[in-house]
Amino acid sequence: MHKESAIREPLILGDKTFKQITDDVCRPIENQAPRGWYILITIATVIALYGVGCILYLIGEGIGTWGLNNAVDWAWDITNFVWWVGIGHAGTLISAVLLLFRQKWRMAVNRSAEAMTIFAVIMAAIFPGIHMGRIWVSYWVLPLPNQFGSLWVNFNSPLLWDVFAISTYFSVSLVFWYIGLIPDFATIRDRMTKPLTKKIYGLLSFGWSGRAKHWNRFEIVSLVLAGIATPLVFSVHSIVSFDFATSVIPGWHTTIFPPYFVAGAVFSGFAMVQTLMLIVRKVMHLEAYIHTKHIEYMNIVIMVTGSIVGVAYLTELFMAWYSGVEYESYAFLNRATGPMAWAYWVMMTCNVISPQLMWVKKWRRSLTFTFILSIVVNIGMWFERFVIIVTSLYRGHMPASWAYFYPTWVDVGVFVGTIGIFTVLYLLYARYFPVLAISEVKTILKSSGENYKDGFGAGEGYYGADGSHGHDHHESHDEVVENTKHEETVAELSEEEIAKNKSTLLDRIGTAEASEADDLKQISGVGPVLEKTLNSIGIFKFEQVSKMTSEEYNLLDSLTKSFPGRAERDNWAAQATELMTK
């Protein structure tokens, strides 16, 4: 197994076992949702419905209800589109790029980040849809045979590239996310007891059974999908930037746009991941899996990408001056000092200055600070797109048509509405889906779990009957094997002794009839074969098991001979007591 340096902070805190990982992730799904969830989803639904109302009003009345004017023909719509697509980038970056780099900490956040990606891209897709004006002919963006003299879409246009990029990105992210979800849905399916929920999760899990061959394929599919999703992520936001960069508008046609947009997307996406994960870990009690170190890692990504964005801003300014093109120079001078300078300086403060604060270790490890900063970055990145779009357009080549931009209530309503829809989707996800990649987290337990790193691992009962404990085989362990084997060898007993032990055992724990038998298999450690053995001795009920102490365990071991010491280690008595009360 892959070993990890002891000085690296563990990724899973506490003394977790495989079982506990499953329990911790499934608990929110199995239990009643907290009251806060209902309050939040009610508020979010109201906002979402208001947003849907605004969208319907917009479609009914036309784009004129937005604040667009003769000069500013793109504003909040495309700003929101780019903002949401950018947010989406973190999910794929975490699940694909970090998979290729074998960054294990991704496993704590990849599932939720991918969910965020998918919902964010859905929100983004709303905007090009509605800003077309006639949404009912939006299928015209596809190259379909038609009656207009076979008029095809323009494959030279970045806007069409965007159609292909966004739809590919959305569908591939969805597939990537779902393939990872299948084994975890199977885990939930196998835990559910209510027939309906079991049926639903059974359908969602596609009948996954965890066969060795399937896991073999699973790993390759994940790896290949990560391999092709990585260039996809970079291409998508590059193409979004081409929407601007291939135009002839001063302030837009710069070659730095693709890398600058991609870095900005990752920057804003990670900020949104931080905002969401800091809430999720707290509310769903996942502090052992998503802890300060994970937050710090993400803050470092924010710091690096934020710095790239900062350098890009300064490069733009330099190029505007150095190029000697007066229109270009004016565009940037106007951004920084014109009537909309306030937006520019909001952007500069939130995106250039704030990530630099992450150099301070104490701050980037502070959860409160991170939360506040992540919101600051989200705001800053919205303003970045607003600045690029609106402040380049409102004072174009012709001073006669210069104008200012004021959003209308429809602009605001649609934007706030998408935040509402996004929140509704995310809340539903957090309630019914496994928010942590259960099977993936289990694979890192032994290399990055705190317990295993400290050298014990899985707590009691982890040392097997033969004293082996999995991670490595050096000499000291071999001695342990010898010793434990000696201790646990059960002497062969004569038939009278067996009969005597049997009656002594039954005297102490009480007798029972086969007709009133409990399902002893419910006790962890008891399988069908062992149950039969127990039944043959005369143990049928939890009540009997619950009365066992170490003496009875020894008697039992002498009779069953199969798993010496097992009953005591697993504390059957305590388990049985608990099962009796159920």
Partner: protein, 177 residues
């Protein structure tokens, strides 16, 4: 004799791996392993062959690449030579740079979806399929090895059982087919 299936259950992936190594070294054929997570190194031990899905994905990608090229050649050059800004599309090669983004996207689209669909079909994991894991705990914390007596004719069922018991199992189950 009826085919018996022995399910050897472990509570740890490494214990199962050690057990499988031991059994295989004695010539036992391990039919299947059910686990809640991938067990690295197991495939070679129990003889699961490496998947060819990667190659399949490459071929799907090539198909996408070809389709995109042919499609855009037809739409933009042959069927309707679109004149954009006084720059007509005379040949595919001259216009190639403009076609690269969509060619790339379509290649990725076909490679990803082709592979995903193949994966689900080959696994027989599709909506509505019944689960076939022998114990519900195999998706939680149980690692189960399935051994069939019919595939291990040189050992008797009892021999197999005692061999399995000598590994670090926590439970044993049997099923007669």
């Amino acid at each position: 004799m009826a085919d018996k299936i022995i399910y050897a259950m472990y509570d740890d992936d490494d214990k199962l791996l050690d057990g499988a190594r031991m059994l295989v070294s004695k010539g036992v054929h391990v039919n299947e392993v059910f686990s809640p997570m991938p067990i690295h190194g197991l495939d070679d031990v129990i003889g699961v062959r490496h998947t060819r899905l990667g190659i399949a994905s490459f071929l799907y990608g090539l198909t996408g690449l070809m389709l995109a090229t042919l499609g855009m050649k037809y739409f933009m050059i042959d069927d309707w030579m679109m004149n954009i800004g006084g720059k007509p599309s005379f040949s595919y090669l001259e216009n190639l740079p403009a076609f690269i983004p969509i060619t790339f996207e379509f290649t990725v689209l076909c490679a990803a979806h082709g592979m995903a669909i193949t994966y689900l079909l080959r696994n027989k994991t599709l909506p509505g399929m019944p689960a076939s894991n022998p114990d519900p705990r195999t998706t939680d914390d149980m690692f189960v090895m399935e051994i069939r007596t019919a595939e291990n004719t040189k050992y008797s069922a009892d021999d197999l059982q005692s061999m399995v018991k000598s590994t670090a199992i926590v439970e044993l189950d049997e099923k007669t087919v």
